[in-house]
């Protein structure tokens, strides 16, 4: 008998955030329980106003071995990066 519960990925939209953000994963027998568990595990300090749960097995991920193919081209085109603008000294947190 399979006793391990399926894994779920949890996404929370925070008080002021516009998008749901991945916060972690947990085990639950079904989606309803996953939402309840997410509430208990991830939102007990007022972190969120909305929860999404997605079965981990439903997520298609890029393969680590494809990293170069997918991301190298971007790194070699420096004109795609906004690094040539002089920033005034007063501007912080950039």
């Amino acid at each position: 008998m399979r006793t391990e519960w399926p894994l779920w990925e949890i996404f929370i939209r925070s008080q002021h955030g516009l998008a749901h953000k991945h916060v972690g994963s947990l085990h639950a027998t079904d989606a309803e329980m996953a939402v309840k568990n997410a509430r208990d595990v991830y939102t007990r300090r007022n972190e969120g106003v909305s929860i999404w749960v997605v079965k981990s097995s439903e997520i298609t991920a890029s393969s680590p071995s494809d990293r170069e193919v997918l991301f190298e081209p971007a790194a070699s085109k420096i004109y795609r990066h906004p690094t040539f603008f002089p920033m005034p000294d007063e501007v912080k947190h950039l």
Partner: protein, 253 residues
């Protein structure tokens, strides 16, 4: 002791004792998520217990704080119903105890939110949001286990039957209840029994379980937990909960 003080101790002690029981699950939950969820419920109850006991201390007017009341009273001064002090047992046992308590707790808080005592109404209004979630959670587990495997069904039924005799005390009014009901401070607990039976009845049915029967209700003949008559389990619970204050009086974090 005034009726109101007595009543506030009952409310506070139910919360504190059950919170302590749920806290015993820390590190022992069947899965990590459930471990956290159970203790979250415990923390909700502890928070509510603090509010009731703080108010009890003020009503008493002898300068006792919620900590004094929680950590320095002996078992016979505790006013919780016997149901909440019973040991955790297995997971089905814990859920059955919680299921019975959560449902009556919510009905009680709904009624207390309309109390003629403003402070009681305020605390109850705050607490009922948390307890609405507790009700959902424990009912959910009763259905999952009852309508689960043969083993879980058997254990859930056994647990419902085991705690059933302790539910009578929840609905049996005494002089304190009657006086407060007359003043509109608190509901007569016997009025909660029908809605409670209806609420748990539908869950038990959905869970493909049988409602326990039998009118024998533990804890009534000698007054029950509300009058300080407890099972042998409360003393052990308190000895653990109160150890630090007993061994190192007045110490704090």
């Amino acid at each position: 002791m005034s009726a109101k003080l007595e009543y506030l101790l009952r409310l506070g002690d139910n919360d504190v004792v059950l919170a302590q029981r749920l806290g015993e699950w820390v590190g022992h939950g069947p899965v990590l998520e459930e471990d956290i969820a159970l203790t979250n419920v415990g923390l909700d109850l502890l928070g509510q217990g603090r509010m009731w006991l703080a108010y009890a201390g003020e009503v008493e007017g002898k300068g006792r704080t919620e900590d004094d009341l929680a950590f320095l009273r002996d078992q016979h001064a505790y006013r919780n119903v016997q149901l909440v002090e019973l040991p955790n047992g297995d997971f089905a046992d814990t859920m059955a105890r919680q299921f019975y308590f959560d449902h009556v707790h919510l009905l009680l808080l709904h009624a207390l939110a309309r109390s003629t005592d403003g402070r009681i109404a305020e605390i109850a209004a705050k607490a009922q949001k948390e307890v609405a979630y507790h009700v959902e959670r424990s009912a959910d587990w009763v259905v999952r286990l009852g309508d689960g495997t043969e083993e879980s069904h058997t254990r859930m039924q056994r647990a419902l039957d085991k705690f059933w005799p302790y539910t009578g005390e929840l609905f049996t009014p005494d002089a304190v209840d009657i006086e407060l009901a007359k003043r509109g401070v608190a509901p007569d607990p016997s009025t909660l029994r029908e809605p409670w039976l209806a609420a748990i009845g539908s869950v038990v049915k959905e869970a493909t379980l049988a409602m326990p029967d039998g009118e024998w209700m533990q804890g009534l003949r000698r007054g029950g937990g509300k009058h300080g008559v407890h099972t042998e389990h409360l003393g052990h619970l308190l000895s653990e909960m109160q150890f630090l204050q007993r061994a190192y009086p007045g110490s704090s974090w």
